[in-house]
Amino acid sequence: MAQTVAAFKVDYFQFLKPDGKLVEDQQIPALARDHDRLVELYKLMVLTRTFDKKAVALQRTGKLGTYASCLGHEAAHVAIGAAMREEDCFAPMYREYGAQFCRGVKMSEVLMYWGGDERGNNFSGPAHDFSWCVPIATQCLHAAGAALAYKLRKEERVAVSVVGDGGSSKGDFLEAINAGSAWKLPLVLVIVNNQWAISVPRSKQNTAATLAQKGIAGGLPSIQVDGNDLIACLWAMEKAVNAARSGKGSFVIEMMTYRLSDHTTADDARRYRPSDEVDDAWDKEPVKRLKAYLIDQGAWDEEREAELLEECSRWVQQAADEYVEQVENHPEGVTAMFDYMFAELPHDLAEQREYAQRFPEDGGHH
């Protein structure tokens, strides 16, 4: 007879149902009653969505390069940002604008980045935060390294990284789990599971029942939450971040959500994704859900909603104008590509920089 030497389970948490009502048979965290806080976070979610829509529109009119939309991820992203302190370190992938807005990154800076202007990378917000990370899952290990630095220096800081369901297939992610486990690092790894890695669905990434259990394999406490439920996301994030901060080691949270947009503006999801699946996902989306809850609680109403939408459009338009003004009227010169390569410009590069100034015209026409 085999002896069971280890057994595991993965818990799933949802507090706010798609219809905006609280689930009945569960202990609801206190933050569900903190209406003021929820309203603030709701506003941020709406701002994020308004921003996203504008960014896609800017891309469609040729004012932005390829852009990665965050439509449908607002609860997950805002919760991640809201649970963190300024001194913590964020290592995002490329679509967690909601989290970054919490941390002080400006909308115009995000636009600059996707608009092909390097200055967007030098964003406002904590200077120790990492920039957008395009090579999938590599950011997880940077967060592990940051966490190791904090641990070695005995600082009460936490590193948080985000990876996609697709990215959870990469060694880097699993290696970050391993590092977090081996060194008991103050590290929180969030899988934002939006079900698709471009055209490859979650079911084709692997056949494990959850992605969270990859954390368990590495020895980390790991849970799943409804990623469209802001309350569940924030509750889980706060628990994990606080525990990590107090020396309890690393955590994995899988947030179950859905990508309501194309993968990026260069993608056409209709080629590979059934439309009824998308329609179904719209019924569960996070903004509508929190709004219904807040209205139900008497903490929000349509009048304030209308005001908010108007305000958000105004702020987003302002950010877009700032962006266009910067990149069109004050473009970064050709020398900028040399200036940040080294602390001090090496002789050889100084020569190339001088030559580039003599030949400033474009090459390599498309």
């Binding site: 090579p135 990469k170 890695a197 471009i198 490859v200 900028a336 590509m337 050889d348 090459g363």
Partner: protein, 326 residues
Amino acid sequence: MAEITLIEGVTMALARAMEEDESVVVLGEDVGVNGGVFRATAGLHQRFGDDRVIDTPLAEVMIAGTTVGMAAQGMKPVAEAQFCGFTMPMIDHIMCHAGRLRNRTRGRLSCPMVLRFPSGGGIHAPEHHSESPEALYAHMPGIRVVIPSSPSRAYGLMLAAIRDPDPVIFMEPKRIYRWQKEEVVDDGEELPLDVCYTLRDGNDVTLVTWGAMIKETMQAADELEAQGVSVEVIDVATISPLDMETIIESVERTGRCVIVQEAPRHCSVASEIAAGLADAGVWHLHAPVKRVCGYDVVMPLYRNEMKYMPSVKRIVHAVQQVLEVS
């Protein structure tokens, strides 16, 4: 006869190779239902099914490592990486295993794989999508590096790469994926690897280039011809192993050489060609060999990427410099 683009040349060669050899399989992220982010594998999944056109999990190390494994066991995998920047994690398997398997096993095992990916900049892509890492691959013993620059060479060289018994890195210049159309017969005829292609004959100067820079180089050649300079243009096509013979033969006649590449200059393929000329052709040179390259910097985001790229003006200027020396 069909008029096709460079990327369609790739697709046509993949389909032809899969049809004639059951052991050829295509794998990579989004290569199946979606037909690849650039549509290089469009239609193949419908035609050949799940077992021949495999959508992989998002994991380049896995793609590279399993490709080596399959190849060593008698399959002919053609793996796609979505962009050049994402092949960096694959280097471990390419360098430590693919390139050495035949040698390490004294010929007992081999690695007849192709790793193909779009490379180079110029399409306004986000960061890590626009690098030209041919020198990295060319530096690896046991690896062939092939870069086509026209629809017919894409077709012919891809067929040759798939049929080749050793590992081939097939870099596709994505900026010119859809630049020209050419009539290409789908006759299964491959083009020879390991040789340069002379695109234009001339007597005064040899321009050596490959991939997307063919475009600016040909334009520069046109401008120079209009000024009365007779220009020979060579498309290197196989970067490694390098056909120095063709280049030396040309430079022996013209006495002057300018090498044009999009990649950074330092320790690059252009440097290797210049060194090869110094080695063999120095007595025939009337002027120093010039390199017109990308700068030794990170490929800038798109607002400045065109300023990074060698321009027609830079090429013409370099040619004028070598012509001034008599």
